[in-house]
């Protein structure tokens, strides 16, 4: 079992925020193609209006996917064992998000583990996603 490295994060440490997007209509169409999520809510303004929105919202999963590069850009010596998120507010096509994180809990046994609070905010600072991740220490792969 690998012990925690000397620079293993502590509770309260911040993950520097990163911006993703803006997510243009074309980006949503490309994401729909690679993910298979072609729900018209995200692609068709009429469907979005029928659902009570001002315009098509960005796929929640596209935004949730941004947490992986956020975490792995912070530290490469992690295995993301769990990621969860609640989609709280829609982010509309053409807008971007700012994602950030904070270490909520550190455990060293039985193996180094961190619990992260993750947040994605819309351009207007609305909370779009409230997420959580559990990450484990692992020896990083060579570049």
């Amino acid at each position: 079992m690998e012990p925690a490295p000397p620079d293993w994060p502590r509770a309260g440490d911040e993950i520097r925020a990163r911006s993703f997007g803006p997510f243009a209509r074309e980006a949503l169409a490309r994401y729909a193609a690679v993910s298979g999520d072609d729900n018209p809510l995200h692609l068709d303004p009429n469907a979005a209006r029928a659902a009570g929105l001002a315009g098509p919202p960005v796929h929640g999963m596209l935004m949730l996917s941004c947490f992986e590069p956020l975490i792995m850009g912070w530290r490469r010596d992690l295995f993301i064992a769990r990621l969860s998120g609640k989609f709280l507010r829609p982010v509309l096509t053409g807008e971007g998000i700012r994602v950030s994180g904070r270490v909520m809990r550190r455990r060293d046994v039985p193996r180094p583990e961190l619990t992260l609070r993750l947040i994605a905010r819309a351009q207007n600072n609305d909370l779009a996603i409230l997420g959580e991740a559990t990450v484990l220490y692992k020896i990083p792969r060579p570049l």
Binding site: S35, G36, D37, N39, A47, A54, R82, L83, F87, D126
Partner: protein, 149 residues
């Protein structure tokens, strides 16, 4: 920005009544993490690392497989309703590998109040070792199909 949520909440009683809240399971589904599909997914999801790994959220794309999509459409209740993604989780025992074969176990449960569909999917190796589990919660939103005035 709150419109969707308020709108949906106020019309929840309009969602179709399910026949039962009992879970529905599908027969095992074989899938593969094809290199081309993985690379395309990485390209569109801000992946900064090289392409020899499977992005954590990649298994979500398997919800679009005909068998799973068909089950979702059947359970949400037809053309007058849209699934709105409310929550998602992934739990990994081990990372998925590129160009590897896996087996999906799918269970769906429709609840009436509130009108939601929850899918639980386990991703296993051909030998039955579970690699990952994902849970998808969809709110079922009735569409306002009347022309806008």
């Amino acid at each position: 920005m709150k419109a969707l949520h308020d709108h949906a909440q106020s019309r929840e009683e309009m969602a179709p009544e399910p026949s039962a809240d009992a879970p529905v399971s599908l027969p095992p589904i074989r899938v593969r993490t094809g290199a081309g599909e993985v690379a395309g997914f990485l390209r569109e999801t801000g992946g900064a690392r090289n392409g020899d790994f499977v992005p954590l959220t990649f298994p979500f794309r398997w919800l679009a497989l005909p068998a799973i999509r068909g089950l979702i459409l059947q359970l949400i209740g037809g053309d007058g309703f849209l699934p709105v993604h409310e929550a998602q989780s992934f739990a990994y025992e081990r990372e998925l590998r590129v160009e590897a074969d896996y087996v999906l176990s799918v269970e769906a449960r429709r609840t009436a109040k509130p009108p939601r569909l929850t899918l639980k999917i386990a991703v296993s190796t051909g030998q039955g070792e579970i690699c990952a589990q994902l849970e998808t919660v969809l709110r079922i939103v009735p569409l306002n199909l009347e022309p806008a005035s």
